[in-house]
């Protein structure tokens, strides 16, 4: 399955964070590379949604929605900075 990118989970991220997040920046906890969430490598049915660092491939985020509740694992993210508005 080809990976998509963070644009594909813009709605899901909005649900979780309450704001537009594809222009926010995350720093990878594994390699330190920083990039826009829109640029993450995203697998929509992993199962659940898995977003990986485009530089090193490490998992940054895992989001799983069951019965209307979304569990969010951000252990792969070192720093998350909202976009300057």
């Amino acid at each position: 399955m080809d990976a998509l990118d963070g644009n594909a989970i813009a709605g899901l991220l909005f649900d979780v964070f309450g704001a537009e997040m594809t222009t926010a920046t995350s720093a990878c906890a594994s390699c330190g590379a920083a990039g826009r969430l829109a640029e993450l490598q995203v697998y929509l049915r992993a199962p659940g949604t898995v977003a990986c660092c485009r530089t090193c491939g490490s998992i940054q985020m895992v989001l799983v929605t069951i019965r209307g509740i979304t569990c969010v694992d951000l252990r792969g993210v070192d720093v998350l900075e909202p976009a300057a508005s």
């Binding site: 080809d2 990976a3 813009a10 709605g11 537009e20 594809t22 826009r36 969430l37 829109a38």
Partner: protein
């Protein structure tokens, strides 16, 4: 709590289908009238949700094809054979039906005149949809930002918005180039191959002109175009990408 006040919500709403337009054998444009629509930015998308009688739900993202100035919301959907959502949208949906959606969504793959240019748009297949919104926006505001589109399709019959793009191509306003990767008619004046480094070098402005690049299409197309431009010396920070995939069905 002060923080709570700035948190937004994306609300689902039922939009009425006003009209359906055949674009190609496999793509249709859906003209919608959502009850609450504060406008969008060129390049944004909406989430569409279908609910079966037993409550099962399937959700997909579709790019907005219309410009913010168009006064109506248009999505263009490509039929994917194994898709869960697109067969319904392309084959079953009728004018007068209601479609559940939320949006507009996304802030990254967006072009506004304040971002400048020159504006280089690279589209593969149905990846043309958000780029068409940008071109219509560019046209609607009478922008002086130089704009160029390279659109890759399998065959001439697969070219979405063919007449509209041909009209635009004939004007001096934007530079539109087509490439057909599988079959091309005799006397075809466009390119006849998949994008590669030479084609990108020919179509893109020189890196010293610092074009602002938007690439949308299947993952393979996007990777080839983006890495090709970076290899030619274009700044990665001025290349924005959006990938479409079969998971978008």
């Amino acid at each position: 709590m002060e923080r709570a006040a700035v948190l937004g919500r994306l609300n689902w709403q039922l939009a009425t289908v006003v009209e359906l337009v055949d674009e190609t054998m496999r793509t249709k444009s859906i003209v919608l009238d959502p009850p609450e629509w504060a406008g969008h930015r060129a390049g944004q998308h909406v989430d569409v949700r279908l609910t079966a009688e037993d409550g099962y739900q399937a959700q997909r993202s579709y790019s907005i094809a219309s410009a913010p100035q168009d006064g109506r919301l248009v999505l263009t959907v490509e039929l994917l054979d194994d898709g869960e959502v697109s067969p319904y949208l392309v084959d079953e949906l009728r004018a007068g039906d209601q479609l559940e959606l939320r949006g507009p969504i996304g802030g990254y793959f967006v072009w506004e005149e304040s971002l400048g240019g020159p504006l280089l748009l690279l589209g593969g297949g149905s990846g043309i949809v958000p780029l068409r919104s940008m071109l219509r926006h560019h046209n609607a505001i009478g922008s002086n930002v130089p704009a160029r589109l390279l659109y890759s399709s399998r065959a001439l019959d697969d070219v979405i918005y063919r007449d509209e793009l041909a009209r635009l191509a004939a004007s001096d306003e934007v530079d539109i180039r087509f490439t057909l990767t599988r079959e091309s008619p005799e006397g075809w004046g466009g390119y006849r191959r998949r994008i590669d480094r030479e084609l990108l070098e020919e179509v893109a402005w020189p890196p010293s002109d610092r074009p602002l690049v938007y690439i949308c299409g299947p993952t393979g197309f996007v990777e080839t175009a983006a890495s090709g431009l970076v290899a030619l010396g274009h700044e990665p920070g001025r290349i924005r990408t959006e990938r479409f995939g079969p998971t978008g069905g």
